[in-house]
Amino acid sequence: MAGLWHRLGPIVTVVIAIFVLWYAGTLALNAPWAQDKAKRAGVELSFSELVADTMSQKKPKLPAPHQVGQEIWKTTGEMVVKGRAFSKRSLLFHSTVTLSSTLLGFALGTALGIALAVGIVYNRTMDMSVMPWVIASQTIPILAIAPMIIVVLNAVGISGLLPKAVISMYLSFFPVVVGMVKGLRSPDHMQLDQMKTWNATSGQEFWKLRLPSSMPYLFTSLKIAMAASLVGAIVGELPTGAVAGLGARLLAGSYYGQTIQIWSALITAAALAAALVGLIGLMQTVVLKRMGMVR
């Protein structure tokens, strides 16, 4: 019990501190508007009235956590209860839109990343010519050209899921390439020599030595790739005219000043990221344990 407190206690304290700061920020940021309103109505606000007002404004500068919570419940749980789980107003609907392009982009990016890494490890020409460009490609702020990719692909007649997935793919292939190149090269000379003494073909060397020993590296990169892929999907939704998806909710919210809507989309995106990364972490634990690689 003491051990659990030792580990979780500080985290719980920090989380509580964040909520306290959030409420304090709500009070500070929303107070001017509340005062302004009271002045025009010609009433003097007591402190408790002021607090009550700052916590329940319709378009606050910073919505209070419980307002965001209510909005999220209203657009997810309540919708499910009403049997309209996937109506256009439901965050579940928008989350699945974002989730599908995230996952497609992630799958494409991982496949491309692993293919490039295998090429780089086995082909000297590719190692020397492609690797520097892979690194250089990431210093380019790719998210900036997201609108162009979407518009151009739309003009060619490709619309919907794929353009967004392309952006996610571009963001997620890099960590996979770097991690897998490191991982595939992680067996040391002794192990490679051992494979040689056993007269292993290069195929056997790949499947039985290099690939298994790259697994820890792969999972670490997959976590980064997944987070990046979600960011790509959200930004990819911005220029499509705010039709559907969490990014569209963000944009629509910022057009109409619906701060509560922005925050609820943001929190949902955060929860989605946490769930996806956590899922890969779980897979990592299970797979590495079965392979006998967990310390």
């Binding site: 030792h6 580990r7 206690g9 500080p10 985290i11 719980v12 304290t13 920090v14 989380v15 964040i18 940021l29 000297r124 020409t125 190692d127 020397m128 010519s129 492609v130 690797m131 520097p132 460009w133 250089a136 990431q138 210093t139 380019i140 702020p141 998210l143 900036a144 050209i145 609108p147 162009m148 518009v151 151009v152 003009a155 060619v156 976590k223 980064i224 987070a227 979600l230 960011v231 959200i234 930004v235 911005l238 220029p239 969490l246 990014g247 963000l250 944009l251 919210g253 910022s254 000043g257 701060t259 922005i262 925050w263 989309a265 943001l266 995106a269 955060a270 990221a273 946490a274 990364v277």
Partner: protein
């Protein structure tokens, strides 16, 4: 048709010369020449294919057209560069990394905070923080201050996590040695732990360079005065002036690489003792 054949020929020549070069023992010259040939070949193939297959410049302008546009509109590009990179990204980068560094040193003194903030920081670093952009634009207005704020939020957590990890990178023997010298906390920090943390700190700084540019540009999609790279990209896409968009991308790519390269050079100078730099 002649352009397509030329493109294929250039591809063959580039590929063949790279294979030849990479078979030779690796020197500095071949290390630079091979990726350079690869890049130039790609650009030439792009030019030939766009001309040969008669792809509309509205979809994909050829490199020569982008270069011409770049030459004509240096004024606009410079204005956007100052607005987005110097005012937005750079000021946010310095503020964010500086604040994260100071807070990391503070956290390091209190193990309780360390155990609490590090997991939370790691969690936040994986979140789509770019989504904060519309909120910050609302709070700080349309001009560069809101862009700098987005950059601060984006670079803060990766930098914090890396610095805290770096400050823990010394081992017991080294810290015990400082103790036997009767070194104070400040001396240990300055002479042992900060230098030992430098590889981690620079890792954070390098990650932050790309994030800073992305943050500054994407934040402009949510509202901006009528200048800035993000603004120009989103409006030019609307006007189908893709050559200008590509010119902005060239600027972004050059700035991004230069920024990253500058930090990497600094790293080389500061952490010359680290195994990864001696090789």
């Amino acid at each position: 048709m002649i352009w397509v054949i030329a493109g294929l020929a250039i591809w063959a020549i580039g590929w063949w010369s790279n294979v030849l070069l990479s078979r030779r023992p690796k020197t500095r010259a071949t290390g630079l020449a091979v990726p350079a040939i690869f890049g130039i070949t790609l650009i030439l193939i792009w030019e030939c294919m766009v001309r040969g297959l008669e792809i509309s410049p509205v979809l994909l302008p050829p490199p020569s057209m982008i270069a011409a546009r770049f030459g004509v509109s240096t004024g606009i590009l410079w204005e956007d560069f100052v607005q987005t990179v110097i005012k937005g990204a750079l000021s946010g980068y310095i503020l964010g990394c500086g604040a994260a560094f100071l807070i990391a040193v503070l956290i390091d003194r209190f193990p309780f905070l360390q155990r609490g903030l590090l997991p939370v920081g790691n969690f936040v670093a994986a979140l789509p923080i770019i989504g904060m952009a519309p909120i910050l634009v609302m709070w700080f207005g349309f001009d560069w201050q809101s862009k700098a704020a987005v950059v601060v939020v984006m670079v803060f957590f990766p930098m914090l996590v890396n610095t805290v990890q770096g400050l823990q990178a010394t081992d017991h023997m080294q810290r015990d040695l400082m103790r036997t010298y009767a070194a104070s906390y400040g001396q240990t920090l300055l002479k042992l732990r900060l230098p030992a943390a430098m590889p981690f700190i620079f890792n954070g700084l390098k990650i932050a360079t790309t994030l800073a540019l992305i943050g500054a540009i994407v934040a402009e999609f949510f509202g901006s005065p009528i200048k800035g790279m993000g603004f120009r990209i989103s409006t030019s896409v609307g006007q189908l002036a893709l050559d200008l968009v590509w010119a902005e991308i060239v600027v972004a790519a050059v700035v991004g690489s230069a920024f990253y390269g500058g930090v990497a050079l600094l790293e080389k100078a500061v952490t010359f003792w680290h195994p990864s730099q001696r090789g």
